[in-house]
């Protein structure tokens, strides 16, 4: 598993690197001392895992996550501000308190491998996004896209319908669409993308549109043009 260390303190990076030396499954592909370096590093090395400090000059660890297209796995490393990690809604993430205890690190890595074995490996050259980091006001989420039923365009933003939460993501729908798994997500109309796994039933409408009923959600109109594609896709 390719991992990257993001921490502004050289000694802290060195210490973590040494601790990780005893985990052969973790390959450290690079280091970064601040958000700018980290953004470039993620681009270059495509790590699957970040060891991420929170307080850094020029931006926090959260700022970094907000700038990434696709949120990698993250283990926060922090000296004292672990309450910041608790700001996360719903899905708790791992965090390690510095100085890092080797046993805690081992447990975190083990949990990570357990989580990874459930995931599908992407096939295309540009891998589809599996998780998104969303910061909406003071709240942060890691949103697994397979749990998102509907994505609605709101100007330059999109709203993710994810269970009861509907966080807003600062990204236009068209740019997000390119990175979604086409086997799962379908552009129903100009403003909406639906998760095919959430479709409960499909009705024929007048004039060639389709009406898709989402599980625990609204009925979505599939425009005439998209309905043709939808039919070939699902052989209705």
């Amino acid at each position: 598993m390719k991992a990257m260390i993001v921490d502004d303190e050289p000694l802290a990076r060195r210490e973590l690197r040494r601790l990780l030396a005893s985990f052969p499954t973790i390959e450290i592909v690079g280091e970064a001392a601040n958000v700018e370096e980290a953004v470039a590093g993620v681009e270059r090395w495509q790590p699957e895992l970040l060891f991420l400090d929170i307080q850094m000059p020029g931006g926090t660890g959260f700022d970094l996550l907000a700038r990434l297209d696709q949120a990698p796995q993250v283990i926060f490393t922090t000296a004292y501000d672990h309450h910041a990690v608790h700001a996360f809604e719903v899905n708790a993430l791992d965090y390690l308190l510095k100085p890092i205890e080797p046993e805690r690190l081992a447990a975190a890595v083990a949990r990570l491998h357990a989580a990874k074995s459930h995931q599908l490996q992407p096939t295309s050259q540009e891998p589809a996004i599996e998780r998104l980091f969303v910061r909406d006001g003071p709240r942060c989420w890691f949103v697994p896209l397979q749990e998102v039923s509907l994505i609605v365009s709101e100007g330059n933003y999109v709203r993710l319908h994810w269970g009861k939460a509907q966080p807003l993501l600062a990204r236009p729908l068209s740019s997000l669409e390119q990175r979604l798994d086409p086997r799962r997500f379908f552009r129903a109309n100009r403003r909406q993308i639906i998760n095919l796994d959430f479709i409960e039933s499909v009705d024929l409408g007048v004039g060639g549109q389709l009406h898709a009923q989402l599980r625990d959600g609204p009925e979505i109109e599939i425009s005439r043009r998209q309905a043709r594609i939808f039919r070939t896709l699902t052989t209705i």
């Binding site: 000694l11 210490e15 040494r18 000059p57 020029g58 000296a79 308190l97 890092i100």
Partner: protein, 368 residues
């Protein structure tokens, strides 16, 4: 609407629970007094029941209205804060005035005289004025008003005492909390755990450096924990700790932290409030240099001008950051101690007028 206005006029209590208690006491007290009068009028004086009821109800309603006005009057003139020797004659005067008013009203509206003369032997020995119904009625009403005032002050002072006790315990709690917060901010956990992490890294790479770091950390902690015991230390002593602290921070920040000292030899013996400079230096790093990608130079200068010591701590800070209050319990506490110790002769100023620079200036007298 009208009812609300009347209510607003009548009710001047801050808390609705107090208002309810007050009105309950009013009606219960005057109600009982009225019942006793009624009993006396019907049983002893044989006044027709309907007439007695109407008169006594009207008189007691008037008493409620009068005492309510009296209460507003007493509040406006702050009777509750008066000493007893001022309060007592005023209460007596008011009681007699109100008592005379209602006594006369009762006398001239009721069937006068209603005195039943029974014992012909004893009666002539009693002075005549004691038998005068007008005098007796005035006395009764005056006494009733006097008791009303006594009970009113008794109850309100009990309540005020209770409120004061509650406030005191809240105050104690807030004080303890702020002491705890101060200690925590002085211990600077973020610095502490990051330093421990640096030490852990150094143990393998550079054991000698690790040993030094542990010593420096121990000295810094001991100084912080002891700082509660002594008020003033020499600048020399404080600077030793600042140096230890900066050495540890240099381990963390590497070459992002550069330090410049401009300390005149003459100032080393001057005594300053313990942790004053240390807190300011910590702040300069925490809110300034730590946020800068390239770091920056921290400048500490100290000089004597006449009998006044001037200390200045200068650090670059992120330009974008608003000149927010410097998180300040530590710095605020330092400034407060400076003020308590030296009053107007000392000053502390945090100058954030430059967009990318913070300047902390202290001036204080040299203790002779």
């Amino acid at each position: 609407m009208l009812a609300a206005m009347v209510y607003e006029y009548l009710d001047t209590d801050a808390r609705p629970a107090d208002a309810r208690t007050y009105w309950a006491c009013q009606f219960a007290g005057w109600g009982l007094y009225g019942l006793a009068q009624l009993y006396n009028a019907i049983e002893a004086l044989h006044v027709p029941a309907g007439r007695a009821l109407a008169e006594i109800a009207a008189l007691n309603a008037a008493a409620i209205a009068l005492t309510h006005l009296l209460r507003n009057f007493m509040r406006r003139h702050r009777w509750s804060t008066m000493p007893l020797r001022a309060l007592l004659p005023r209460s007596l005067a008011v009681s007699v005035a109100l008592g005379t008013l209602l006594g006369l009203a009762m006398h001239f509206t009721s069937i006068a005289p209603m005195w039943v003369l029974g014992d012909e032997v004893v009666l002539p020995q009693i002075p005549g004025f004691l038998l005068d119904p007008m005098f007796v009625r005035t006395c009764n009403w005056s006494l009733a008003f006097f008791f009303w005032i006594a009970i009113y002050f008794g109850l309100t002072s009990l309540r005020d005492q209770h409120v004061a006790m509650l406030r005191q315990s809240e105050l104690t709690r807030a004080l303890q909390l702020s002491e705890l917060r101060l200690l925590k901010s002085q211990l600077n956990p973020h610095f502490l755990f990051n330093s421990l992490n640096s030490v852990r890294a150094l143990i393998a790479d550079d054991p000698e450096c690790a040993q030094n770091a542990v010593t420096q950390l121990a000295r810094t902690l001991r100084y912080t924990l002891r700082s509660g015991q002594e008020e003033l230390v020499t600048l020399e002593r404080e600077l030793e700790i600042v140096d230890d602290y900066l050495a540890l921070e240099s381990l963390r920040f590497g070459d992002r932290l550069r330090i410049e000292r401009r300390i005149e030899a003459s100032v080393l013996g001057v005594r300053i409030p313990v942790m004053l400079l240390q807190t300011i230096v910590e702040n300069a790093i925490k809110h300034g240099i730590a946020h800068l990608l390239e770091g920056g130079t921290l400048t500490i200068s100290a000089a004597l001008h006449g009998d006044t010591l001037h200390i200045e701590v200068k650090n670059p800070r992120p330009a974008s950051e608003h000149p927010a209050s410097p998180d300040g319990i530590g710095v605020r506490n330092s400034a407060e101690r400076l003020r308590l110790l030296f009053g107007a002769r000392a000053s502390f100023e945090l100058d954030l007028s430059h967009a990318d620079l913070a300047l902390a200036r202290i001036s204080m007298p040299r203790e002779s």
